[in-house]
């Protein structure tokens, strides 16, 4: 039987999915890592991006430093941090957050900047405070781009979270590396397929969310 067919057999086998070490648990773990990493990077990057977009200052610094951060290879960062923190989840989290921050940041300030300055001026002229302008005008109107940044970050993180298993954490990388080391190509393919599917499903979820956002009253 060919490898793809064997991989499909594996994926259709309930025994492969169950258990503490099964694909089901690994998928949830993978999703958990990804959401945690995206959540952490949003907590860092959104306020920063909003501030840059709102005040219109520091943009060059942010663009230049995210350029440098983007050029850092994730695998290098991961292995480097892991040498100091030891095996486990800390090193992958650091690497994934560093990977995700530039995308979220770019979406955040681009979203705020995309709002028509006349709208912002009008809001100010109505007597809104800076905080009100940001939270009730700029963030809602910039939401499509802001969510776009988070979407891109999520995709990057879901794909890269595989590397967590390289330094001893779990996730879908665990069966993948197991398959790689033992030349178990069906397992390798099956685990890869689940990661790809997970990424496509998340991307689709974001696509739907973004379409719904565009339909919200006042956001057209």
């Amino acid at each position: 039987m060919s490898y793809p067919a064997e991989a499909l057999d594996l994926l259709l086998d309930p025994a492969v999915w169950g258990g503490a070490d099964g694909l089901g648990a690994r998928t949830l773990e993978h999703l958990g890592y990804s959401l945690l990493a995206v959540g952490l990077s949003a907590a860092i990057a959104l306020p920063l991006g909003f501030a840059v977009g709102h005040f219109g200052r520091g943009r060059n610094v942010v663009v230049a430093s995210s350029g440098v951060v983007r050029a850092l290879p994730t695998l290098g960062l991961l292995t480097l941090v892991a040498l100091f923190t030891g095996l486990g989840l800390l090193a992958p989290m650091v690497a994934l957050v560093v990977l995700a921050v530039p995308s979220v940041l770019a979406g955040a300030y681009a979203g705020i900047e995309s709002v028509d300055p006349r709208t912002v001026d009008a809001a100010r002229a109505q007597g809104m405070s800076r905080w009100q302008v940001l939270t009730t005008v700029q963030i809602p109107l910039g939401l499509p781009l802001i969510v776009g940044g988070i979407r891109l970050a999520t995709l990057q993180v879901v794909g890269t979270a595989i590397l967590a298993a390289y330094v001893g954490a779990g996730g879908l990388g665990a069966p993948l590396f197991l398959g790689l080391r033992t030349y178990d190509y069906p397992l390798l393919l099956a685990a890869s397929a689940v990661v790809i599917l997970l990424a496509l499903v998340l991307d689709l979820a974001f696509e739907i969310a973004q379409r719904l956002l565009r339909r919200l009253p006042g956001l057209r």
């Binding site: 490898y3 793809p4 290879p73 960062l77 890269t160 393919l189 990424a199």
Partner: protein, 216 residues
């Protein structure tokens, strides 16, 4: 620093291997994206399908693609060729959209007047479309080059030699300088290539030299 100095030959050969994987991939991704983008622009109803379709490729995580491709192509997992193929696909995922947008940004008046002056489609492409779209095309190419240089390192966990091998070896043997030098050289390579491309753009497109116009 001692470690780097003692292993300079090894590092140099890995750097060459890295370039050997990434440069062909960047070039191919760029060259192959142009006809796809032009076709997408010409056949309007297909545009969204082609552009989003190739964009969707980018949603496919890199490491699984490095693994799935060889099994589908029938090559070995550690074969350099399928790393290049995967990198080309990733590059195209980014490049097709920027190329389609770049050619779309050429003013219709310019193209119409070129046609009115007697340019054939082929002649107009070289003399009008390409030069006018060159700015955004170059911007797209620079994004592809930076991301490809960085992406190559991931293939090291499969056992393909590149600067990424400095990470995997360094991690397994606990050599911090190995990883640090890998990170620094990878980032430097990306930077140097980016500067080269930008210089090439200034040289080849003197009409873009005046003023800043990068609405990003």
């Amino acid at each position: 620093m001692d470690w780097v100095f003692e292993n300079r030959a090894h590092i140099a050969s890995l750097t060459l291997a890295h370039l050997g994987l990434s440069l062909p991939a960047i070039l191919l991704a760029f060259v192959l994206s142009l006809p796809v983008a032009i076709a997408a622009n010409r056949v309007r109803p297909l545009r969204e399908v082609i552009v989003s379709g190739t964009g969707l490729l980018y949603a496919v995580p890199s490491l699984p693609l490095f693994i799935v491709l060889p099994v589908l192509l029938g090559t070995g997992v550690r074969d350099r060729a399928n790393v290049i193929v995967a990198l080309v696909l990733f590059g195209m995922a980014l490049m097709v959209r920027s190329a389609a947008d770049a050619f779309d940004s050429v003013p219709a008046e310019a193209r119409l007047s070129a046609t009115a002056q007697g340019y054939s489609r082929w002649g107009r492409f070289w003399a009008v479309d390409l030069p006018l779209a060159a700015g955004p095309l170059l911007a797209g190419l620079r994004v592809v080059s930076v991301s490809t240089i960085s992406l190559v390192t991931v293939s090291a966990v499969l056992g393909v030699q590149s600067l990424g091998s400095l990470f995997t070896d360094g991690f397994q043997r606990g050599i911090v300088p190995s990883i640090v030098s890998g990170v620094v050289i990878t980032a430097l390579l990306a930077l140097v290539l980016d500067l080269l491309l930008s210089a090439l753009g200034r040289f080849a497109m003197p009409w873009l030299r005046t003023g800043e116009r990068s609405p990003r």
